[in-house]
Symmetry: C4
Subunit: 240 residues, 4 copies
Amino acid sequence: MIEGRHETRGAKETGRIEAFSDAVFAVAITLLVFSLQVPTLDNPSTSEHLVRMLLLRWPSYLAFSISFATILIMWISHHVMFKLIDKSDTLFMFANGFLLLLVTTVPFPTQLVATYLTTPVAGVVCAIYAGLFLMTNLVYNLLWWLAAHQSRLLKDSVSPMLIHNQSRNYALGAPCYLLALVLAFWSPGVSIGICSVLWLFWAFTTYERRSAREVYRKQRFEPDKKERHNEGRFDDGNKA
Amino acid sequence: MIEGRHETRGAKETGRIEAFSDAVFAVAITLLVFSLQVPTLDNPSTSEHLVRMLLLRWPSYLAFSISFATILIMWISHHVMFKLIDKSDTLFMFANGFLLLLVTTVPFPTQLVATYLTTPVAGVVCAIYAGLFLMTNLVYNLLWWLAAHQSRLLKDSVSPMLIHNQSRNYALGAPCYLLALVLAFWSPGVSIGICSVLWLFWAFTTYERRSAREVYRKQRFEPDKKERHNEGRFDDGNKA
Amino acid sequence: MIEGRHETRGAKETGRIEAFSDAVFAVAITLLVFSLQVPTLDNPSTSEHLVRMLLLRWPSYLAFSISFATILIMWISHHVMFKLIDKSDTLFMFANGFLLLLVTTVPFPTQLVATYLTTPVAGVVCAIYAGLFLMTNLVYNLLWWLAAHQSRLLKDSVSPMLIHNQSRNYALGAPCYLLALVLAFWSPGVSIGICSVLWLFWAFTTYERRSAREVYRKQRFEPDKKERHNEGRFDDGNKA
Amino acid sequence: MIEGRHETRGAKETGRIEAFSDAVFAVAITLLVFSLQVPTLDNPSTSEHLVRMLLLRWPSYLAFSISFATILIMWISHHVMFKLIDKSDTLFMFANGFLLLLVTTVPFPTQLVATYLTTPVAGVVCAIYAGLFLMTNLVYNLLWWLAAHQSRLLKDSVSPMLIHNQSRNYALGAPCYLLALVLAFWSPGVSIGICSVLWLFWAFTTYERRSAREVYRKQRFEPDKKERHNEGRFDDGNKA
């Protein structure tokens, strides 16, 4: 009975933080559409001209897509992390607030990349873009460290192995984005490429891992299948 | 008891995805208002001049209305689909993420139509507009296929006939929007007309079907009235 | 037992419509801030100049405040109406969708008033502004008529007197806004004044009525105090 | 049993107000990103030029950060206040509506500071900025006064000492922001500095107090640890 009440309280405690975070993620991801600008045409214009103008804007479509995918992965990560968390903490809340600040900022470097990717200053804008994702990843690492080690906010059912795996997954993102940041000055294209591939890599790994595990499970008929299945679902999606 | 717990878990699993999707739909539908631009007048202006300027902007009101109605229908479809769904899946989540990307993009082609519908490039912008709705419909088909066949995410209570009807409804949208896309190059007006009529057609069919069914029910006094009523409510609203 | 399930189902049925509507109201009310534009100053500027420029923008602050207050009252009305409603209906959902379209549109005439209130075309923009609120009120009347008469979506506990009072309250808004619309062509100031006063009038009446009723209740010690208190809370706030 | 029903009703009564407020806070905090404008470069531009242009925009990053942090603290305050509140009231709802109006307005003075902090008119814009926060604080005081004294909307479990502490905390913000407003005319930098330091001060105090209390608790093994812990969590975060 006491256990039950404790659970409910815990759920409610992080519930409103989650709802607020979700709303910020949702608004930020939707505001990205403003990086897609309608071209202004000189009056006597042809269809070919408009199509050419629209195609010339490919950097904005690319930046929009990468930013959208990255915020989506961030949201999934946030979702997965909070599923493992039982209670909240002032320091944790401020770290989460700082994360939301970074998420909110994403439309700005997205706009920078959309505007300047095909100009001589592409290196700088790609470095800023990768730099923001690097900072976001560091804050995810901080959040996880606070939850798992410093303030012990996790549910009791979270196993040490899961904690270890998550820590490694979060830690893996930082060097990749750092590489993207540094390479931006040599080749902006490679930098942007890393940002996209990182996302695709995580998306595919998540899917394949799950499938592999499912097959494994069907062979073993584990009794606690459901529980572990849920915990491990986005193992690899958490790194962004 | 085990059944009960399973149900709750399933509800919770898709719950946060639904809430996030709803927020994205709501923000995207509200951002459409930016396609309505206030005209700038030369200083010594008359009321007639302003009214004429505002009336000249009819393409933006039309595009705003069609986009609003279409996103609303998409949201209702999403709602109906998730009411039949029990659990989630990584692949399904990424397909849903791609759907949200398309929904988020809607303000961009809306703005294109609002700006260029009365110019010689109207064909291109109408084709892009219909093309986005076509892609959205294809992703709805993909989502439904994943839910109903590939990953089996539906509730056990969903009957094979309902699955079949839904599949047909989703599949019906694609050729219509493809027609609108192709016809755009011959007649932009017809293309935009199809986009509006499609929506009106679905809206009215949904209503009439329900009424017809209700009359039929009152004559038969079916015991399981409530359940079937709910499942079939938006049968025809799902195609967008 | 069956009663209980029915209640839960009903609650869930309108639950997601309410959540979506709330989100649209919240985004629309927040987007109003874009009607407040930062003035651009010529380089060598003084503080007095900036203050004068900011004060000259009083129409935008006025339009922002009236629109904010009106959307807020609309949201409260929506809230109150849905508290009396048990179930939903396709026609009702589309009427609600049309209401959301009007709510979403509010930033546009707000911007018109903010830009043109002090110019010779003020009459036209005030008429459009009042016209939008008139249409919104008519849709509220339609929604209420659908809920109370045509489709009978209300909870069984709603008394005929409450239905009658609500109907009268909703109906009262239309002639007021129609007056504001017509008067706009003679005096834009009076028209805008009616829009503000209507809101203030409702806000104050709601408060005073409630207080009066409370005093009355304390004298009578009614046993069902809580229930009626809840139903009647925003009696006068529903007219917008 | 009656107690239980009363609790649920109370929870539901403020539930939708909280959800709506949360959505407005979330949208307002995300719209702040529009104060970060992408600089337009003359065509033949170098990386150094872009970096210099971006660094010159430091006022916009500063204003964005302070506004973000302040809205976040406001949201936490709102959250904490509503955790102590049981029921709602028409007057309280309108006061809450006025608070939301102020929160919605934040992007406007933020933009003013971002644009004019390094110009001769900095004093005026900083005074407006501090002035808005002063007004917000006054509305928080009003809300708390309505909840705790005028309309008695608090839960029965809230102790008089907690009420007294909260009242003092809310009251403390006003003179600080008033000081920032007045000093703006002498030194805009000091004024902006106070706005940032106020926030940092509250953030750190919240954290340290909690830690101190936790240590104290571990020594005493209090039985009602959980309850008091929850109530006092953001004691110092409520002043914004």
